[in-house]
Every structure is written in structure tokens, then in C-alpha cells.
């Protein structure tokens, strides 16, 4: 590489040294401490702690609600991105601005206001509850909160891809006699698919670890509306450190697998774009 040219700049030792020190102190050592403590118990004991019926119910709820929320985000996020990029209409700038709102809003506030909106006497709950749709203190509430939190990921991942999409290709399809639906299905949708999938995966990964917005809206009932991160906090409050650590390691392994998957997805998507 351009090693010789770069060597003229000073400060590599200092900045690299500080970077590695800070990274170790803040991220790597605490992470290693957690993993080491997990190895402190036997494999059988770890397995028992990580797979109690209550833990399994919590994983299941976390997975199901996160998946549903990610699907909702992929659908509505794609719709929002499409509408924002392709159409001009009154209120467009407002939507473009407020799409990032869930990202900027502290999750606790998101949970608080969503719980109050969907409560039986809330602005939305008072219309939905008579219809049998209960948004607060149910798994549906968890999905709602997770959809809110993950929305910007889906929209912002798709937006640049939509902007870069070459309209000429669609024009060619149209001149060759394809109807709009046919053009969309066989030209536009395949080009967008990797980005939609990446946005879906990012929203899913975010949802799996989410805590702040859920505590308020879910009610946190064991076996019913208790997500995995909440169970970790419960175990900690019971001073059951081994139990909390076992759950945390499971969640950690899952997050890292997802991270690896997302990296592969992004590589695939950028290859397809070229």
C-alpha cells in the first residue's frame, strides 16, 4: 500500500495506542468478564439456567414479536421510502423529517407515550379496545413498540437504493410494452429486494435487544408478555447472577450471529447494486 507516503504523518502510535486502550477498557474487558463468568458454571448448569421454561417463553416472545415488527417495518418502511422518493405531495417534507423521530426519541419516552395511546382510555385504545384490539399490556403492544423503534432502519436503508435506481430501465420496460405492474414485479422489486431484506434484518436485530420501550407497554407478565431482556433484569433483581448471565450469553450469541448475517447481506446487496 501507500505505507511510505503515510508514514510522513505523525501520531500513529499515540492514536492507535489510545484507540486500543479505550476499546479494551470500555468494550472488550467488560465483554470478556461476562463471558468468563458464564464459563464459571458447568455446561450442564449453564444449559439448565438458559433453558428454564420461563426463559424459553421469553426467547420465544422476543423472537416472534421482533419478527412481526421487522415484517411490519419492511412493509411500511418500503412504502414510506417509495412514497418519499417517487412522489410529490402535501406533507412530504414533514414525513421526511419525522421518519427519524423514533431514532432520536429516548426509548423510555416512546414506550410511555405508546402505552398511553393504546391504553383502554387512550386516543387510539378507546376506539380499538371495543373492537377487541388490545394494544397495551399484550404481545401486540410489544410488536407496536418494536415497530416504532425499528421504522427508521427500514426506511433509511431502502431510500438511497431507490434514489439510485435507474429510471431508464423502467422506461425501456414500458416502451417494450410492459405494464406498470409487470415492470414493478420483474424490474423494480428484484433490484430493491436486498435492501429491503437488509432493512428487515437491521430492524430485527434492533428489536431483539430492545428494552426501554417495552417495559411500559408490555406489562411484563411471565410466560405471557415478558421479553428476554426483561427476564435478565428480573434475574438480576433477584440476585440470581448466574441466571442473568446465562440468558445474557444466549442473547449475545444470537446478536453476533445476526450481525454476521447482516454483514453478509450488505456485501450481497452492494454487489448487486454494481
Amino acid at each position: 500500500m501507500a505505507d511510505k507516503k503515510f508514514n510522513a504523518l505523525p501520531g500513529f502510535g499515540l492514536t492507535m495506542g489510545f484507540t486500543l486502550f479505550y476499546l479494551s477498557a470500555i468494550v472488550l474487558i467488560p465483554l470478556a468478564a461476562l463471558v468468563c463468568r458464564a464459563f464459571g458454571v458447568s455446561w450442564a448448569e449453564f444449559w439448565r439456567l438458559a433453558t428454564t421454561p420461563r426463559a424459553l417463553a421469553a426467547y420465544r416472545l422476543s423472537l416472534e414479536t421482533s419478527l412481526l415488527a421487522a415484517v411490519a417495518n419492511a412493509l411500511f418502511g418500503s412504502l414510506l421510502a417509495w412514497v418519499l422518493v417517487r412522489y410529490r405531495f402535501p406533507g412530504r417534507r414533514l414525513i421526511a423529517a419525522i421518519v427519524d423521530f423514533p431514532f432520536a426519541l429516548p426509548t423510555a419516552v416512546a414506550g410511555l407515550t405508546l402505552a398511553s395511546l393504546f391504553a383502554a382510555d387512550g386516543w387510539l385504545g378507546r376506539f380499538l379496545t371495543p373492537l377487541g384490539i388490545k394494544g397495551a399490556f399484550t404481545p401486540l403492544g410489544v410488536v407496536i413498540a418494536l415497530t416504532f423503534v425499528g421504522l427508521p432502519f427500514a426506511v433509511r436503508t431502502l431510500e438511497p437504493v431507490l434514489l439510485n435506481l435507474e429510471r431508464e430501465v423502467e422506461e425501456v420496460a414500458a416502451t417494450l410494452g410492459a405494464g406498470r405492474l409487470r415492470t414493478f414485479v420483474s424490474i423494480v422489486a428484484p433490484a430493491l429486494f436486498p435492501a429491503v431484506l437488509t432493512g428487515f434484518a437491521l430492524a430485527f436485530a434492533r428489536a431483539i435487544g430492545e428494552y426501554g420501550s417495552i417495559v411500559f407497554i408490555s406489562g411484563n407478565l411471565p410466560f405471557k408478555t415478558e421479553i428476554a431482556p426483561f427476564l435478565i433484569v428480573t434475574r438480576l433483581e433477584e440476585y440470581d447472577y448466574a441466571g442473568a448471565i446465562a440468558l445474557a450469553v444466549v442473547l449475545l450469541v444470537f446478536s453476533f450471529l445476526l450481525l454476521a448475517g447482516i454483514n453478509l447481506l450488505e456485501q450481497w446487496a452492494s454487489r448487486l447494486q454494481r
Partner: protein, 298 residues
């Protein structure tokens, strides 16, 4: 993973929305009925999912009137929470700025093996659940933890005290500044720094007068995102704080406590401050993205 990619400013990029009305391009537009149906669904979704929650915070906060709102915010416990939140952000944001500058300098200006590995490690906190992050520090510094007994013998408290809150906040906001700065510094290259050094400037002068001005917008962008997360973090802080009213409650924790004490208007009052913070963050973010887009066009 902790933050969505930045918005792309569209103005000037999509140039054919006017010409789309011409007959020659009709084939690339949806029928008006489909188009307006899609717009209607999008508007409806944003209204229900984004605007209603936003408006609801202020309406609920003022549901018992301005006097109650003011009293809720000026109660000693709320003021202590606001103070703690400001203190935590004032410590953790500069720390991460320092780290971000150092990491970006090392990564953008030099070649070394393991660079992509290092970048992955820097992004790691984004993919760790905040609750797990909090637990990591409890395991390290808690009384049952590895360093706990040593700290306890010296009467130092990290967990259930302010240092622990600062540490987890540094952890969850760790990548923000670095990941904004690295691409910006990479894009500017190092020719200008080389020139400054050739002309006799020393390393620090080069950094202050050449590098820093060229990355200041990226830095500012990273800082506001980092600050928003630092002030709003809930899960990780909740695990290590110990929830001592007036001492280790940050604003988001205060919101939860007031809500659990069935004082919803007061909870929403504190929450409304955090919403104002979010709106300010959003406004600065949009302003800077517009600026960036204009610069790229010219």
C-alpha cells in the same frame, strides 16, 4: 446497528418528477389511483405512528395544567435527575469525541493489518442489547463481580452510583462519533496534512488547523447523535443505577419511576423535556444533511 443510515437529501437528485407527467414517461408512473392510495396509507401510518405519540406526550404532560407541569419539573427529585443526565452526557460525550478523533486518525490516515477487524469491534456496542451491556459492568464492578471486593475494600462505588452510569453510557454511545468521523477523514485524504507538515507545522498544529476544520461537520453530526443517546439511554443505565431517588435517577429513569408511582402527568412532564431534546436533535440532523446535500451538488 444502533443507528439507521443517514437520510439522503432528495432535492435535485430526482429531477424527473415534473417530466413524469409528460406522455413519454407515463409508463414509469403508477396509475393516479394507486399513487394516491399509497400516499394516503403512508400519511395515515405516519399520523398514527409518529405524530400521535409525539402530540400525546405534550397533551398528557399538560393534562393537569401548567402549574402542575411546572411543579413536576421543578421538584427536587426531577431537578436532580435533570442534573445527573446533564452531568453524565457532559462526561461521556467528550470521552467518546476524544476516542472518535483518535480512532479516525489512526484508521483513516494509516494502513495496517486488521483494520476492518478494528472497525467491526468499534461498532460492536450497537449490536449488544443495552440490558446485556449493563450486566457486563455489573459483572465487572458489582459486589459479586470480579473487581467488586477490591473496590469495596477501598470504599469505591461504581455500580449503583454515578461512575457506573457514566461507564455504561460511554459504552452504549461508544461508536457514534468514530463511525461518523472515519468515512469523513478517509474521504478528505491526507495531502493537506502532508503539505502542512512540509511547510513546517508540527503534528498538533496540523491537526488543529488542517484536519479538524475539514471534518468539523462530521464531528458535530456524531456529537449530536452521541448526545441524544447519552441523555436518553434507559436499559443499560437502569441495570446499573440502583434507582436511588434524587441520587442515581437519570431523566429516563425518573420518567419510569413517576409512571410506576401513578403520577402519569409528572412522568409525561419529564418525558416532554426528552421529546424537546429529540426534536432539537432531529432539527440539527436535518439541517446538516441538507447542507451536505447542497455541498455535494455544487
Amino acid at each position: 446497528m444502533g443507528q439507521p443510515p443517514p437520510a439522503v437529501e432528495e432535492s435535485g437528485v430526482v429531477t424527473n418528477h415534473k417530466s413524469a407527467k409528460q406522455p413519454s414517461q407515463r409508463g414509469t408512473e403508477e396509475p393516479p389511483l394507486v399513487k394516491w392510495l399509497l400516499i394516503l396509507v403512508a400519511l395515515g401510518f405516519c399520523f398514527v405512528f409518529l405524530l400521535l405519540p409525539l402530540a400525546n406526550v405534550f397533551v398528557q404532560a399538560l393534562s393537569k395544567g401548567w402549574a402542575y407541569y411546572a411543579a413536576a419539573l421543578s421538584s427536587p427529585d426531577s431537578l436532580a435527575a435533570i442534573g445527573l443526565t446533564l452531568l453524565v452526557a457532559a462526561i461521556s460525550v467528550p470521552l467518546n469525541v476524544l476516542f472518535g478523533l483518535a480512532a479516525a486518525w489512526a484508521i483513516a490516515k494509516f494502513e495496517f493489518t486488521g483494520k476492518s477487524m478494528l472497525i467491526t469491534l468499534i461498532d460492536l456496542p450497537f449490536s449488544i442489547s443495552p440490558v446485556v451491556a449493563g450486566l457486563m459492568f455489573v459483572v465487572l464492578f458489582g459486589l459479586q463481580g470480579l473487581l467488586g471486593p477490591w473496590l469495596d475494600a477501598r470504599d469505591l462505588k461504581v455500580i449503583f452510583a454515578v461512575p457506573g452510569i457514566v461507564l455504561v453510557t460511554v459504552f452504549v454511545t461508544f461508536p457514534f462519533v468514530a463511525r461518523e468521523l472515519i468515512p469523513v477523514m478517509q474521504a478528505t485524504g491526507s495531502e493537506q496534512e502532508q503539505a502542512a507538515l512540509t511547510l513546517g507545522a508540527n503534528g498538533w498544529q496540523t491537526f488543529w488547523h488542517v484536519t479538524l476544520p475539514s471534518v468539523k461537520w462530521g464531528l458535530l453530526y456524531g456529537i449530536i447523535l452521541c448526545n441524544a443517546r447519552a441523555m436518553g439511554e434507559f436499559g443499560a443505565v437502569s441495570v446499573v443505577s440502583g434507582h436511588i431517588t434524587g441520587k442515581t435517577d437519570t431523566m429516563p429513569l425518573r420518567v419510569e419511576k413517576l409512571y410506576n408511582e401513578y403520577d402519569a402527568p409528572a412522568a409525561f412532564a419529564v418525558a416532554s423535556l426528552l421529546v424537546v431534546l429529540a426534536l432539537l436533535t432531529l432539527a440539527i440532523k436535518i439541517f446538516m444533511e441538507r447542507r451536505q446535500a447542497r455541498k455535494e451538488l455544487s
